[in-house]
């Protein structure tokens, strides 16, 4: 998913199984001593551990959501707010670190598994039982049924601008429905008002994660029909908070859902999303107590200052994100159609400097999967930093004196700074790149336009802890289209086949091995230059209770309270 603030991204960020354990250990160290080391996970605030009801929590972001329609929205800030309003069948446990990647029931009564009969023995049929008595928020006030889920899913699949339908094409009948040959998705069945049965064409180990994405959240038909196109600005679901108002470019206000189904929740009366302050302004407001949580994190410029302050230091929380920053190279444009040129640039970028320029709030990335993503190969360096090698490859490619090109990024700190550093790295091997910065919304649009941008910054945040979330959006043919996320527009029949094969595999270990092989193959083609993996570092006021950072949801106001 795209992250609107610092880069394009995928939301979810779940840290995965094995590797996360190591990261978590690192992160706990940080949270406990407030940023003395570098990485970190989060732990509850020391203030008061007894939740209290009431109060207003103010969060600050620079950019407002592009949409609050769960069928369409895919920016970090979009999902951040959607998590308060909408819900789906499952959710991730509200814990920091690895524990937060565990799926737990939400509107379903249990997580389907082969053990409880929720998943058929052949791995193709998923059965979900719905929690009874859950009502849509006022003014709809109606009980949620299985029909609502089916409606929401088919609505999402048929939305003209839905970006994520490829995740669900494995559902039986999805093809026919998308092509207009069927009026419903035959594989998404309503068995009775509280039972849903989903049939897949082939087993898919990432399917439970896919249905947990916000795209599958339940929405009431009557409300969608009432607002039609305006629904994206009038969200309504079953979540703990009810949408109140959206002042364009200023703020979004949510209030407690009076008939929320989970006893004792939520704690807060009001959530106030402030949507216009730059990260540095937000930090000053936090220091004055006007903002409770920094949505965009601590700006690099102020990190050293904040870490040096004994009081502010205690308010820092940090976690490594399963996310990446790449340099994309549009293979439809010269000279990036030449694989040697792409390989050359892969050797040319000083990743350690990019990390240093962010005050250490990132990790150098030497392969395509970030650390924490299954398929990541510990210790593997696919392309290092070797300008001499880069020059040699450029000469072999027929550019002994380099070439001129354009380099693009958005204007959100620290991107202009980081990409000025990349520009200098490229100049050092003879590539004269003119750096152009633009506002992030127009940047994302232009990035998804074929044949427009030559090369530039690209970010992706994990949607769920499975490498299919990397291959599908970033390296597939389906995504190398107008509005797609494959900014390099690179794909190959060989990888397409590997992807299809891997998705059908039922042995988790062999499947992940296949994904590692795919990464090795991608490396030979070098469609992107992996640069760094970000570390989220943010702050909250001492009066914010229960604060922690979630590996998928990042900031999770449904669990916070105000002291």
């Amino acid at each position: 998913m795209t992250k609107s603030i610092s880069q394009r991204t995928a939301v979810a960020v779940v840290a995965v199984v094995a590797v996360v354990a190591a990261l978590l250990a690192l992160s706990l160290g940080l949270a406990a001593c407030g940023g003395s080391s570098g990485g970190g996970g989060s732990s509850p605030t020391s203030s008061s551990n007894t939740p209290t009801q009431g109060g207003t929590l103010t969060l600050s972001y620079l950019t407002e959501p592009s949409s609050l329609d769960p069928a369409i929205a895919w920016n970090v800030i979009d999902w951040q707010i959607e998590h308060d309003i909408y819900q789906g069948l499952l959710q991730y446990a509200h814990e920091s670190g690895e524990a937060g990647t565990k799926l737990i029931p939400c509107l379903a009564t249990e997580v389907p598994s082969t053990a409880n009969g929720g998943i058929s023995a052949d791995g193709k049929v998923y059965t979900f039982h719905l929690r009874r008595g859950v009502k849509f928020q006022p003014p709809v006030n109606r009980e949620v049924t299985a029909e609502d889920f089916k409606y929401s899913f088919e609505r999402m699949m048929s939305s003209p601008r839905a970006p994520a339908t490829s995740f669900y094409m494995g559902v039986v009948g999805a093809d026919e429905f998308m092509k207009g040959k069927a009026t419903e998705i035959s594989g998404y069945k309503v068995v009775d008002p509280t039972t849903i049965q989903i049939t897949l064409k082939s087993p898919d180990l990432s399917f439970l994660n896919a249905v947990t994405m916000d795209f599958c959240d339940v929405v009431p038909k009557e409300w969608v029909d009432k607002w039609t196109k305006q629904f994206n600005r009038h969200p309504l679901g079953t979540g703990p908070f009810v949408f109140q108002k959206w002042t364009a470019g200023r703020e979004i206000v949510l209030t407690r859902n009076p008939q929320y189904w989970e006893a004792g929740k939520p704690y807060l009366d009001t959530i106030d999303y402030q949507l216009s302050f730059s990260p540095s302004t937000a930090l000053l407001k936090l220091e004055r107590g006007e903002v409770d949580v920094l949505g965009d994190g601590v700006p690099t410029a102020d990190l050293v200052r904040v870490q040096a302050d004994p009081n502010l230091k205690k308010q820092i929380y940090s976690q490594p994100l399963v996310a990446i920053s790449y340099m994309f190279m549009n293979v439809d444009m010269k000279p990036f159609d030449n694989v040697k040129v792409r390989q050359a640039l892969s050797w040319a970028i000083n990743r350690d400097k990019l990390v240093k320029l962010q005050g250490g709030q990132a990790m150098s990335l030497w392969q395509f999967y970030p650390k924490g993503m299954p398929g990541y190969q510990e210790g593997k360096v696919m392309y290092g930093y070797d300008p001499a090698k880069a020059k040699q490859l450029l000469a072999e490619a027929g550019y002994p004196n380099g070439f001129k090109t354009m380099l693009y990024t958005d204007n959100v700190d620290p991107n202009p700074k980081l990409w000025t550093s990349v520009q200098a790295d490229l100049a050092a091997v003879g590539v004269q790149a003119q750096l152009k910065t633009m506002s992030n919304n127009s940047y994302y649009t232009q990035q998804g336009t074929p044949g427009l941008l030559t090369a530039g910054s690209f970010g992706w945040w994990m949607d769920f802890p499975d490498p299919s979330d990397w291959i599908g959006p970033l390296f597939s043919k389906a995504s190398a289209v107008e509005g797609g996320m494959n900014s390099s527009f690179w794909w190959s029949p060989q990888l397409e086949k590997m992807f299809v094969d891997a998705q059908k595999m039922t042995d988790p270990a062999a499947r992940i091995k296949k994904y590692s092989d795919m990464q090795d193959y991608i490396a030979t083609q070098a469609p992107y230059v992996p640069c760094y993996q970000p570390i989220q570092t943010t702050m909250c006021t001492p009066t914010t209770g229960g604060f922690y950072l979630h590996p998928v949801y990042e900031i999770d106001p449904t669990q916070y309270w105000k002291n």
Binding site: S278, P279, S280, P299, T300, A301, D302, L303, V304, R305, K353, K356, L357, Q358, G359, G360, N411, D413, P416, K417, T420, S421, Q423, A424, Q434, L435, K436, T437
Partner: protein, 342 residues
């Protein structure tokens, strides 16, 4: 503002009315014709004296320079501008470092800019580049854009102003209403729109600033020409059969030199400031070429942790703008002693 032909220090208001309207060739820097000098000699001495004539015989420009020189602030401005121009011209030779090189030693372990040191006299910026060298190279951008953009605005302003003021009629209506429209438009918005449509580069910047800033010059020149064209010497020129072009070039334009000089130096201050503004919002010279406005934009997030990043380029802009303003004020006073005394 009106132009009074400069004469000797002696007051001869009473005599000046009697002065024959001779062709005063100010524009080419030569002397005022002899008649008025003789008149002032008479005025000063009270009687005819060849000695008095000798003493009072000064060139027009010498006279202006003499008055200008007495203005201490203006002289400070001149010195500042000379230094600035020298720094800009000599930057490649006197700058201690390459302004675009990102030094490893220019960043602390935490990736923060370093303060002033033996190696980096004013410290470094957020990417480890030498701040002093960047300031020096930034002066080039400011001056080149300032001078060329202002020159462009000047040419447009003078042509439009002369045409509108001299020919009147529909040309005046058209040009002056166009000027009004342009002046009513928020110039920063106009410039941002123009730069966004075109591709930001130093030449586009010059063009855009010129397009945005020709209006004040047009207004002033138009007003001046309106009064000058009614003067007897213009009538005389017309009666002797001079063409309009000759009248404009030889008889009217020379009277505008003072106005043009004053407005040019004041305009330079405005244009340099405007260039900094556009660079600040990212529409000026593109990185890594340093410009002062861009340096402030890059350093602004660091204003609590490394205030020198905004302080030095800010001072550079302030000093430059102030210098041109002081010189402009000094010139106006030098050209127009009456107004000064008021």
């Amino acid at each position: 503002m009106s132009y009074v032909p400069p004469e000797g220090p002696g007051s001869h208001k009473t005599i000046s009315g009697l002065e024959p309207e001779t062709e005063i060739d100010l524009g080419l820097g030569s002397t005022v014709s002899g008649t008025s000098e003789i008149a002032s000699a008479v005025g000063a001495a009270g009687m005819w004296s060849p000695d008095a004539l000798l003493i009072e015989h000064r060139s027009l420009w010498g006279e202006i320079w003499r008055r200008f020189r007495r203005d201490k602030f203006a002289m400070v401005g001149v010195v500042a501008i000379i230094i600035l121009v020298l720094v800009a011209i000599l930057a490649p030779w006197i700058a201690p470092h390459d302004p675009t090189k990102q030094y490893d030693s220019g960043l602390t372990m935490q990736g923060m800019p370093v303060g002033p040191s033996h190696e980096f006299w004013l410290g470094t910026d957020t990417l480890g580049r030498d701040l002093l060298s960047r300031l020096m190279y930034g002066a080039r951008v400011s001056l080149v854009v300032g001078v060329l953009a202002n020159g462009f605005a000047l040419v447009l302003g003078v042509i439009f102003g002369l045409t509108a003021g001299y020919f009147r009629g529909w040309a005046e209506t058209l040009l002056m209403r166009m000027t009004d429209v342009m002046m009513a438009f928020p110039i920063i918005l106009l410039a941002v729109a123009l730069v966004s449509v075109l591709k930001p580069s130093i030449w586009i910047l010059i063009l855009v600033i010129g397009i945005v800033y020709w209006t004040p010059m047009t207004r002033v020149i138009h007003g001046e020409v309106l009064s000058i064209r009614e003067k007897e010497f213009v009538d005389a020129a017309r009666l002797t059969g001079c063409s309009s072009a000759r009248i404009l070039w030889r008889h009217i334009l020379p009277h505008l030199v003072a106005v043009i000089l004053v407005y040019t130096s004041l305009g330079l201050a405005t244009t340099i400031l405007f260039e900094a503004t556009l660079s600040y919002i990212g529409l000026g010279v593109q990185p890594p070429t340093p410009s002062w406005g861009q340096m402030i934009a890059e350093g602004q997030n660091y204003y609590l942790s490394a205030p020198h990043l905004v302080l030095y380029p800010g001072l550079a802009i302030m000093i430059t703008v102030l210098a041109f303003n002081l010189v402009g004020d000094g010139l106006r006073d030098a050209f127009d002693p009456q107004q000064r005394r008021r």
